[in-house]
Symmetry: C2
Subunit: 537 residues, 2 copies
C-alpha cells in the first residue's frame, strides 16, 4: 500500500506552496476505483474508516487533498486598485515584499502564499470600504489575525489581498459588575489578559499562541485551549460580534447580554468559520473572575486506564475547582528531556497528567486536592506526583505540558493531528499509529486535553517525507471517523484539512454549509480555498 | 397618547386568535407618519427608544403587531392527505377535536390555533416522511414539544398540522465518564433529570416547566432557566443535534464531542429558531456532575443598589460555588402572601434575593457562605436573611422565587415581559413602567435572574385590557431598546413578539435571518407566522 501511495506524491504534499503552485485536476483516489472523498456510509456520515488507509493510489497524477486547487478566476490587482487602497488607508496599504514576507508564510512555515498587498485598517468603516471595493472588483481577500493558525487558513494561497486586523486593537468597554469585555478584533489575547487581571478578571480562554494571536482570530477559528474544561467554548462565552460581510455591509450583533432570544443567533455562523463568511471587527466576551488560588499537580500513571480512572476520581472530588486535566506520554517527556533539557519532576512513567485547580479559597482548594491525591495514591491510580501553588513552580509544571510543541519542532519535521475522540479510547489512536508506521516515523507522540476528549497526535521525521505523510493520512482520519471523532477538534480545517471534512460531517451538512457560503459571499472572495471542500465548487 | 393608542385596538390584541381570526392588512403605526416597525437608528441597531411610547396610532384600522397576519396560501388538508398520514403513522394521526384541543391552546391560554390533525411520530424516519410529504404538498406544520412556551410559538396559528415530539421519548446513550447524554427530542426535562440524578449527574438546565417541557423544545427555544449562571447556555452545553429539514432530509449532527471545528456549526442555527428551520429529533448534551452540597440563602435588601452590591460581593466571595442569584420585589412578595398564603420567611424589605450555592464539599461551602453573609450584614448590604441546606427548607425558600408566576395567575390577567438589560439598570424598567401606567395597572412586579441580567416584568389587570396593553407596548420595548437590551431574553419571539424583533436586532441582521429561512425552508411550511417579522414576507 505504501509503495502505491508513494507513487505520484511529491514534496508538494508536505509543502504544497513552497515547492510548487502547479496544481493537478485529479483527486487523490483512496479506494479501488472509488473517487475521493468517500461517500458517507455510517448513520452519522462517518466515512468508511480504516479501509481508506489500506488502499493505494493508482496513477501518477494524484495530488494530496491538502494541496491547493487551481486559482479561481478572481481579478488581478491593478494600479487603479492600489491607488484606491492607498487613498482609503493612508500609510496602511503595504506592498513592500520584505514587509509582506511574514504575512505570506504560516507559523509552521509549511504554507506560503503570494499576496502582493497587505491592508491594515484601523476602523470598521475602513474594513467595510475595503470589502465593498473588493467585492465589486472581484478581488479575493485573506483576513488575517495573528497568523498563528496550524492548518494554513491564515495566509493567502495565491495573490489574495491580506486584510490584517493588527491595527483594530482598541479595548472598547469593560463592565466589572457583569465581567463583559468589548474590544476590537485585533487585540492580542495576552494584552487582554493583562488588562483584565488588573481588574481581577481573566479571559475565558488561554492558549500557547497568546502572545501573538488576535481575539478576532480566536473567535473566527473557535479556538479551544487550556481553559475550555472550566469555562466552556467561545460559543458560550462570546456574547456578541461585529462583522463586515463580503459586500461591505456591517452586521452589528455586538450585544453585551448574556441572554438574547430574538431570532437566529447569527454570530454563531462566524464563530469557527475561519474568515470565509465575514470579517470579524469587534467582539464582546463574558469574562470570569480571576481565581484567588491556583494549584497544579503533576502526576504519573502506569497505564492510560489508570489515567482515565484518575480523571473520573478527580471530576468527583475536585468538582467545581477543576480547571484543567491535561496529559502527555513518555515519548513527549523524552523530547522535553532531550531537546529542552527539562528534567522530569517525578519518576519515569508511561503517562503524565497536569491537573490545575482554580478557586476562591486556597485553604479549601488545598484540602480538596490533598484528599483527592491521597485517594489516587492509595488506590494505585497514580504512581508518583508533585504539587505546586507558588507561581514559579506552577509555571514550571505547566511548561512540561505547554512546551511539548516546542520540543517537537527540535525533533525534526512534524506532522500534526488534532482530533476529538471518545475519551475512553483517546490513546488508542497513538498506539495504532505507532504500530501502523513502525520504523518509518522518528517519533509518534500523544498529548492534549483529556478533559475535552482532544488528542494532539504528532509524528516526527528527519525532514518532510511525503511517503510518511501518505502513510499517516488518511489512516488517522479514517481511524477517527471510525469512532465518530472529529478530524479537527480545535485547529479548524483551513487549507490543509478542507477536503477531509467528510470524515466528520455528513454530505447534506457540508452541502448546506456550501449554500450558506454562497448566500453570504456570492462571489466567494473571502478566504477562498479554505474550510469547505473543493467538490462544492 | 393613550387615548390615541386605545383607538383602533380591540380584544383581538389580547386574544389575537380566541376572539377573531380576521386580520387587517395595515401595520400599527407608532410614530407620526412613520411606518412601524421603526428603522434602526443607533450604531447597534437599537430602535429609537422612548419616543415610540409617546406617539399614538392615528387610524381606526391598526392592529397589534402581535396579532396574526393573513393565512398564507398553504394547501388545505385533504382526505388523501389524511389517508397518507394514517398509513405512515398507524394510530399516530389524530383528528379527534377533543384530543386536539390541548394542542391548539397555549399554556397561558392566550393563543388558540385551529389545527385539525395531530401527528405523533416515534422515529426520525417518520418525521422525515411527514415533512417530505408536507413540503411536496405545501402543507404547513407546527412542531410542538411540551407546549409550555409563553410567546405563542408552540401552537398552530391557523390549520397547521401539529407535529408532536411526545413519542420521540427514548434516552439513547449516557456516558458517565464524559457526562454526555444523547436522547430523542421528546424526552421530558424532569424525566431526564431523574435519570441523570441516579447516576450522580444533573441536566445543565432547570426551569419551572420541567414537568412538561421537552428537551427538543428547550433546545428549539434556547431555554434559559435557573442554572444558566453556573452552567452557561444551551449554545455551549448542547454538543449535537439531529434535525429533519423542511424537505424531509435528515441532518445528522448528533456529535457527542466537546470540540469539533470541522466547518460551520450548523446546529447553532436550530438552537433558538423555534422550529422554523427544522424539526429537532435528537439531542446530545454535556451534563455536569451532581453537586454533593446545595445551600440556599434568602436575603432582604433596602435598595436595588444594595442588591447589586450584594451580587458583586457574592461573585467574589462565593466564586465557583455560586449557582443562582435570583431576585423578587416586595410586590411579588405581596402576591405570594395574598394568593398562595406563603409567609415571608424574613422581615419585610423592598427587595429579596435567592442565592444558591452548589459544591462538592459541604463544610467548605458553608464556610464560604457564612463569611459572605457576615460581610454582607456587616457592610449593611443585607438587612435580614435565612439560610437552608436541608432539602425541605431549600425547596421552601426556592418556592418564594419559583411560585411568583403562579401567584401572578391568581392576581388577574397578566401581561408578561422577559427582557435582558444591563444589570446595573435592571430594576429601573419596573419603576418606569409603574410610573408610566399609574393606576391603570393592578400590579406591576419585577423578578428574575439578576446573574444573567434577565428581568421578568409582569403587569396584572382584572381582565384582558387592550388599552392597558397599548400603554405597555411598545413602551417596554422602546425602553429596553434604549439601553440596548433584548426584548426577549429567554422566551423567544414566537407569534406574539415576532414584529418586535427590530427593537433588538438591526435590519441587515433580520434580513439575513430571512434569507436563511428561505434557504432552508423555501416554501415556508415550518412554523409559519413565528419568529421572523411579517415585513420579510
Amino acid at each position: 500500500m505504501d509503495v502505491a501511495l508513494r507513487r505520484g506524491l511529491s514534496l508538494k504534499t508536505a509543502f504544497p506552496f513552497m515547492i510548487s503552485r502547479r496544481t493537478l485536476s485529479l483527486f487523490w483516489r483512496c479506494g479501488a476505483g472509488k473517487p475521493w472523498p468517500p461517500a458517507p456510509t455510517g448513520r452519522r456520515g462517518a466515512a468508511a474508516p480504516h479501509r481508506h488507509a489500506h488502499s493505494g493510489a493508482s496513477e501518477g497524477t494524484e495530488r494530496s487533498p491538502s494541496a491547493a486547487p487551481e486559482r479561481r478566476p478572481f481579478s488581478r490587482l491593478s494600479e487603479e486598485d492600489l491607488a484606491f487602497f492607498r487613498e482609503t488607508l493612508p500609510g496602511g496599504a503595504i506592498t513592500d515584499p520584505d514587509l509582506l514576507e511574514a504575512h505570506n508564510i504560516d507559523w509552521l512555515k509549511s504554507v506560503r502564499g503570494h499576496g502582493e498587498l497587505l491592508l491594515r485598517p484601523q476602523t470598521t468603516a475602513q474594513v467595510s470600504e475595503i470589502l465593498r471595493y473588493c467585492n465589486d472588483r472581484n478581488l479575493a481577500v485573506n483576513p488575517q489575525g495573528g497568523n498563528t493558525g496550524l492548518v494554513g487558513g491564515s495566509v493567502p494561497v495565491y495573490d489574495e489581498i491580506i486584510l490584517s486586523t493588527a491595527l483594530l486593537n482598541n479595548i472598547l468597554t469593560f463592565d466589572p459588575v457583569s465581567g463583559i469585555l468589548t474590544c476590537q478584533a485585533g487585540c492580542v489575547l495576552e494584552g487582554l489578559s493583562g488588562y483584565l487581571e488588573e481588574q481581577d478578571f481573566i479571559m475565558p480562554l488561554d492558549l500557547g499562541a497568546k502572545g501573538s494571536c488576535h481575539i478576532g482570530g480566536n473567535v473566527a477559528t473557535n479556538a479551544g485551549g487550556l481553559r475550555l474544561l472550566r469555562y466552556g467554548s467561545l460559543r458560550g462565552t462570546v456574547l456578541g460580534l461585529e462583522v463586515v460581510l463580503a459586500d461591505g455591509r456591517v452586521l452589528d450583533c455586538l450585544s453585551t447580554l448574556r441572554k438574547d432570544n430574538t431570532g437566529y443567533d447569527l454570530k454563531q455562523l462566524f464563530i469557527g468559520s475561519e474568515g470565509t463568511l465575514g470579517v470579524i471587527t469587534a467582539v464582546s466576551v463574558l469574562c470570569p473572575r480571576k481565581p484567588s488560588a491556583v494549584h497544579v499537580a503533576f502526576l504519573g500513571c502506569q497505564t492510560f486506564e489508570q489515567l482515565l480512572g484518575t480523571f473520573k476520581l478527580c471530576k468527583g472530588m475536585l468538582g467545581e475547582i477543576l480547571s484543567a486535566f491535561e496529559f502527555l506520554d513518555a515519548a513527549c517527556m523524552g523530547l522535553l528531556n532531550t531537546h529542552l533539557k527539562l528534567p522530569n519532576p517525578i519518576t519515569d512513567c508511561p503517562f503524565y497528567i497536569v491537573i490545575e485547580t482554580s478557586g476562591s479559597n486556597s485553604a479549601h482548594d488545598e484540602e480538596k486536592l490533598h484528599s483527592f491525591l491521597e485517594e489516587a495514591m492509595t488506590s494505585s491510580l497514580v504512581t508518583d506526583g508533585t504539587v505546586a501553588s507558588d507561581d514559579t513552580k506552577v509555571k514550571a509544571l505547566w511548561s512540561m505540558r505547554e512546551r511539548v510543541t516546542e520540543a517537537l519542532t527540535h525533533d525534526g519535521y512534524t506532522y500534526k493531528y488534532d482530533v476529538s475522540l471518545p475519551v475512553e479510547g483517546l490513546y488508542q489512536l497513538v498506539t495504532a499509529t505507532r504500530d501502523h508506521l513502525g520504523s518509518r516515523a522518528k517519533n509518534v507522540v500523544g498529548y492534549g486535553h483529556v478533559g475535552d476528549g482532544n488528542l494532539h497526535l504528532n509524528v516526527t521525521s528527519s525532514g518532510p517525507d511525503p511517503s510518511l505523510q501518505g502513510a499517516i493520512e488518511p489512516f488517522v482520519y479514517g481511524w477517527t471517523a471510525g469512532v465518530r471523532g472529529s478530524v479537527s477538534a480545535e485547529h479548524g480545517l483551513g487549507l490543509k484539512k478542507r477536503n477531509y471534512i467528510y470524515y466528520s460531517k455528513p454530505r447534506p451538512a457540508v452541502a448546506l454549509m456550501g449554500h450558506i457560503k454562497t448566500l453570504m459571499d456570492p462571489r466567494g472572495i473571502l478566504n477562498p480555498y479554505k474550510t469547505l471542500p473543493d467538490d462544492l465548487d
